[in-house]
Symmetry: C2
Subunit: 731 residues, 2 copies
């Protein structure tokens, strides 16, 4: 044992000596994702820490298998088929092979990168617009320039890694054949994309700028950082300032933040290594570090990113988040707790940051990442609404309530002011459809956004929020939506057993303004936290007001007598998303409407005050969907024709259902009566009560947030007094 320890020590000393000599004689590449000195460290420690040893082994397996196949640089053809995937695979393999060359010195890896790049240098000049290009964003290698930008980001890294090994002739051929022509195509033909404040521009400027650092081309670098006019009005640095709020919320929402954060971090890392004086990681209040935290706080306990705006299934394990977590860990001293997410991800990047994370982790099991109640402002100055997340319960079995009052979120934003989501113990109970798209699935419109995305998924009725006269918020008009961000009222999280979030959406349609106040309440008498929901609609004349609840699970019970559409079904409406909803049943009530469903092990009930008279419509997605593009999902809508009114509800998890043990308990919700006791322009008081003598009254003040103002209302013979924005009176 002692002997082998000595041998190991000897090897390490040699490596350290080697490292030092290398450092003295080191060339100036690589310079994007690792320095020559870090490469020596990675060589020495590549098998030492489990996660880095694994990424090295996987890389070796991937590239050794690639080396056995003939190279293929096909003429581009499809938007999501073989040639598309092949070119993506090529840049992944080039980048990995480049790093394998650095870590092993095996020239077969360097040759692999060179040979592919020489083929690209031959192919690229022959290409016109991609045959599957759509509109103005068409690329040459790929159907959209977005993918082409990603290619350049990854290929610049690969090129950097083999740069010193290449002959000057090969460098010239590669640079003149593909790298510079592509950069030129971006800067000249796609100048408007470069100068956008948008994730497509982030990728494109990252590609141009990273190539600039590899080639020492100041023009590329300045264009990337400051826009084609090099004025600073556009470009990467401006994007950092404008695309994130001071809290790190990305304007398009967490799904696209997950996507955009990759070029943000990979280019930031290149900037930090080559122009540290720009202090890119500190820019806009260190917003890149805040951005990764914002994404993580917008995930459920299962690690799923919440689906708001255009969004599909993504988890904390997405490769972009692996990179962002590793880079943030390596650069932000205050983000060392990200190590727990790295442990959950179970993988690290194949570069210097990845080694640092693997070394810090080294088989340990850090405490789980703390997901807490947070409020994230939206807008580059933090003054365009935001999103409130309330969490209650123990880590591992939390209840999570989300109220969305962000700005529009650009072209991927949905018309969903004051939309809410509810997740209980990892189950998505009240859901958002997300995007209508099957990414990369060729038969589904080439993997692109489906037309049902705009005709349904983006429309207000696809969300758990109010719709006026069957018209989406701001008539589903992007410009109008962008003029009307949601407005924060307050978020109150001091008392973990009674947390409240409140927001306003002004003038959402036909002059109607909506204010929604939601509380997440835990109580010793209840098995799980419940949600109180007071949604006040301010309207000068009568409108048809619809409040949908999109739920996951199987309908178990409603107290409302309804007529089911048993032998013929028709869509609920003709437009604005309503045309995609089959009406499966309908009824009405003027007392309390209660709907109970079952979702994997638990009952859930929404009980809502139904005075004035309220219709209850059961619906299911799938109407006017000739290509079977929509998932078939249930929802119910509360509908009321009235002026100013209050929709007051309580969302209750209760009981337990275990099919294997045939256990069913507590199918009746604790609260089954909801009444609006009082409402005025100043305040609303709602009573929630149940059979077991349980009675809560929830008082909310309207208008601007004011914690000091006291309110007094008379209800029947009783006087109710409270100070501030809200009050919960139990019994």
């Amino acid at each position: 044992m002692a002997r082998s320890l000595c041998a190991l020590l000897a090897v390490m000393l040699i490596l350290v000596a080697d490292l030092r000599s290398q450092h003295r004689t080191a060339g100036r590449h690589p310079r994007l994702v690792a320095s020559p000195m870090e490469v020596q460290l990675m060589r020495a420690e590549r098998g030492k820490y489990p996660l880095f040893a694994a990424v090295f082994q996987n890389a070796r397996t991937l590239i050794d298998s690639a080396l056995r196949r003939p190279l293929d640089v096909p003429v581009p053809k499809d938007a999501a088929g073989y040639t598309h995937e092949r070119h993506k695979q090529n840049y992944r393999e080039m980048q990995t092979a480049g790093m394998m060359y650095q870590l092993t010195g095996d020239e077969r890896y360097a040759s692999f990168v060179r040979d592919l790049l020489l083929q690209y240098a031959k192919l690229y000049p022959s290409l016109g617009l991609h045959p599957a290009a759509v509109g103005k964003s068409g690329g040459r290698l790929f159907w959209q320039t977005l993918n082409e930008s990603v290619w350049l980001v990854n290929t610049s890294i690969a090129y950097d890694l083999v740069y010193e090994w290449l002959s000057p002739d090969d460098r010239a051929r590669i640079e003149e054949g593909v790298l510079r022509p592509m950069a030129k195509f971006f800067i000249k033909d796609c100048a408007s994309t470069v100068d956008r404040i948008h994730n497509h521009a982030t990728w494109m400027t990252a590609g141009i700028g990273m190539l600039g650092y590899v080639l020492d081309d100041k023009r590329y670098i300045e264009t990337a950082l400051k826009g084609t006019k090099q004025s600073g009005d556009a470009g990467f640095l401006r994007q950092i300032d404008l695309l994130f709020s001071p809290d790190g919320y990305y304007s398009e929402g967490p799904y696209y933040s997950r996507y955009a954060i990759y070029p943000f971090f990979v280019f930031a890392e290149s900037i930090e290594r080559n122009q540290p004086e720009l202090k890119v990681y500190e820019r806009h209040g260190g917003v890149l570090g805040k951005a990764i935290e914002a994404i993580l706080q917008l995930t459920t306990e299962n690690g799923d990113i919440i689906q708001i705006n255009d969004a599909m299934t993504k988890t904390v394990k997405a490769q972009e988040l692996v990179l962002a977590v590793d880079y943030a860990f390596a650069r932000y001293p205050n983000l060392q707790h990200l190590l727990s997410i790295a442990a959950e991800q179970g993988k690290v990047t194949f570069d210097a940051a990845g080694l640092a994370v693997a070394k810090a982790l080294n088989g340990s099991r850090p405490a789980p990442y703390a997901k807490r109640s947070v409020e994230l402002s939206d807008g580059s100055n933090g003054d365009e609404g935001g999103i409130g997340v309330l969490r209650a319960g123990e880590q591992g079995s939390q209840a999570m309530l989300v109220l969305k009052y962000t700005a529009q979120g650009g072209g991927h934003g949905h018309f969903d002011r004051l939309n809410m989501l509810f997740v209980d113990e990892g189950r998505s109970v009240l859901t958002d459809y997300g995007a209508a798209r099957f990414v990369n699935v060729e038969p589904k419109y080439g993997g692109r956004y489906l037309k049902e995305n705009s005709s349904y998924a983006m429309q207000s009725v696809a969300h758990n929020t109010i719709i006026v006269d069957e018209t989406s918020h701001y008539a589903a008009n992007l410009e109008a939506g962008e003029k009307h961000p949601g407005q924060r009222r307050y978020v109150s999280t001091n008392d973990p057993s009674y947390q409240v979030v409140s927001a306003i959406a002004p003038d959402i349609a036909n002059g109607v303004t909506v204010e929604r106040t939601m509380a997440l309440v835990t109580d010793a008498a209840l098995t799980r936290p419940v949600v109180l929901d007071v949604l006040k609609v301010f309207a000068k004349r009568a409108h048809q007001l619809d409040l949908p609840f999109h739920y996951d699970g199987h309908l178990i019970h409603t107290n409302v007598r309804y007529e089911a559409r048993t032998s013929s079904q028709k869509p609920v409406g003709k437009a604005n998303g309503y045309q995609h909803l089959w009406e499966t049943a309908g009824g009405e009530s003027d007392s309390t409407i209660s709907v109970t469903w079952l979702l994997s092990g638990r009952y859930y009930t929404v009980a809502s005050a139904a005075a004035p008279k309220t219709e209850l419509l059961f619906v299911r997605t799938g109407a006017n969907d000739p290509n079977f593009n929509l998932r078939s999902e249930p929802a119910f809508l509360l509908r009321r024709d009235t002026t100013t009114t209050v929709f007051a509800s309580i969302i209750q998890p209760h009981g337990v259902f275990e099919p294997v043990d045939e256990l069913s308990l507590g199918y009746r919700p604790p609260f089954n009566r909801v009444r609006v006791l009082f409402t005025s322009d100043e305040a609303t008081v709602v009573e929630y009560s149940g059979d077991g003598a349980i009675r809560w009254r929830f008082a909310v003040s309207h208008g601007p947030s004011d914690e000091a103002r006291s309110h007094t209302v008379r209800i029947g013979g009783e006087t109710l007094t409270w100070t501030g924005n809200h009050s919960l009176i139990k019994n």
Copy 2:
């Protein structure tokens, strides 16, 4: 270390000495699930082996908490609500408390059992028919006598465990107040149930017989074993002979086998301990051991019991299977490999067998239970059809094909002759609806079978088999169905890469007979095994023939031009289950019909020959379902109006879809053309081909199985020759 070992040894010696002295002076109770000597062993080793230590700890927690609550023996009221659950909980707690008394000597546990039994002794004589009783099977404590039988089984065990501790007065009160009156109610008022050959009778005879052993009442014992006339024409022993096939297949299918196996094993164990001369575990060829193996072979790789006949979600972890596995392990020397299932279950019974299993397992990880291709005959003599299960691929990622050609299966049997299921890597790809029921969910008709169970779930169209003229097999008439078991042709599993199962269902409706031959084929050119399906319909005149495929997943592509019912939906038909299917789209073809869907990570395509002209109907369950009792699930139907014909299909898993990595590959199936090249009364030849020059021909012989007969058919200019039942010619 040595010292503590010595101390431990000393304790053990004392315990063994104690055990021996106890044995000499042991009373005659307990005698049902453990002997006095075994009790001493359990006392000594109760903390020694992880699984038994856990069951002991759980029991202690459960009962210590029960001791702190007031006892409750409520007047029966509901069929699935509080009083129902309370009485169930009471017998569970009595049984556990009885064993806790035996293992600790703590008299609080014995008092708990006594006090509850004395309350039952007071309550029971006052009860008439249960208020929620339906029809003739109403009980007194429970809405059906079935639950009351279960109560008696568990309570007999509890009574046995405290028998010697009770005073003679208390014994008399308990026996005269509740135990004997209940036995009398069963034997006198429910004689026809006792004498049935049915799981209700198994539970009832188990209750009567086990009470008989505790009370030394010969009449009870003889009635339980041989029926109320004690002739042996009925009773428990006769049930063992008649309810299982020689292969251990239980007539109602694996879901109910899982249920029935509990009383079979618990009563068998009592018999073995008290009348070992009956050799109950060896009866009918040792069929009880075969029965547990049959259930396990009818589970997927996830451990889910396949859903055929009336069935709901159940896994190998069901408590009944924990008991059966433990008892079988303890009694059958040839079933020691059940230890791997015990490890998967992660729990053991709280009795002598549970200790034996925990001791044998003791933290080890046995090799996984081998699930293989099996054929299980149906019928007490094994001559009423059966079920064929083909499996291919590595343990952990098997493909599983099921062809069902059993007999009717009694009142829980479905009209599903030649129904097929396909499970791939644990995913249920082609599914059976199972039962329409929410067990124990009070708002769903008290947790009973829903009316949609008979109007939809039992009907032929709810299954992946042929339907003639929209009429279910045997007109969905139980008596007619029972006269027509399916008929085995052959199962061929010698070549693991080419396995075949074939069966016939004669005269299923309107004089039509169906023969179905299915092959599960692996091939180096394919990523996953595929299924070839040749379904020959013999009909003298033209009929409307429908072949549904009920699938799980999202529809991705079909090559058939169809008209979607976009703005109005109607049911496909008026009766026999068709009234519950919305028609979502329809088209037709006379070449090949191909339908592709996506199910969690993989594409699946069914391609079917469509000559003569074939309609394709897309449907979804949920029509004429006013109470939202049905799950909303998709299917498609092939429809053809013709006389004798062949439905030839191939079921293909292909490609991969990974949403988090946005990976989609291979959405096109390897085979996209299917043609019936030849068909006659003697044989059928089907060609399966694809774009990559892949071409298979599958030749199947009709009529009685004959492995020696040679067949020659001419197809165009070519002659095809094979010997035996089937042949697969690749290219």
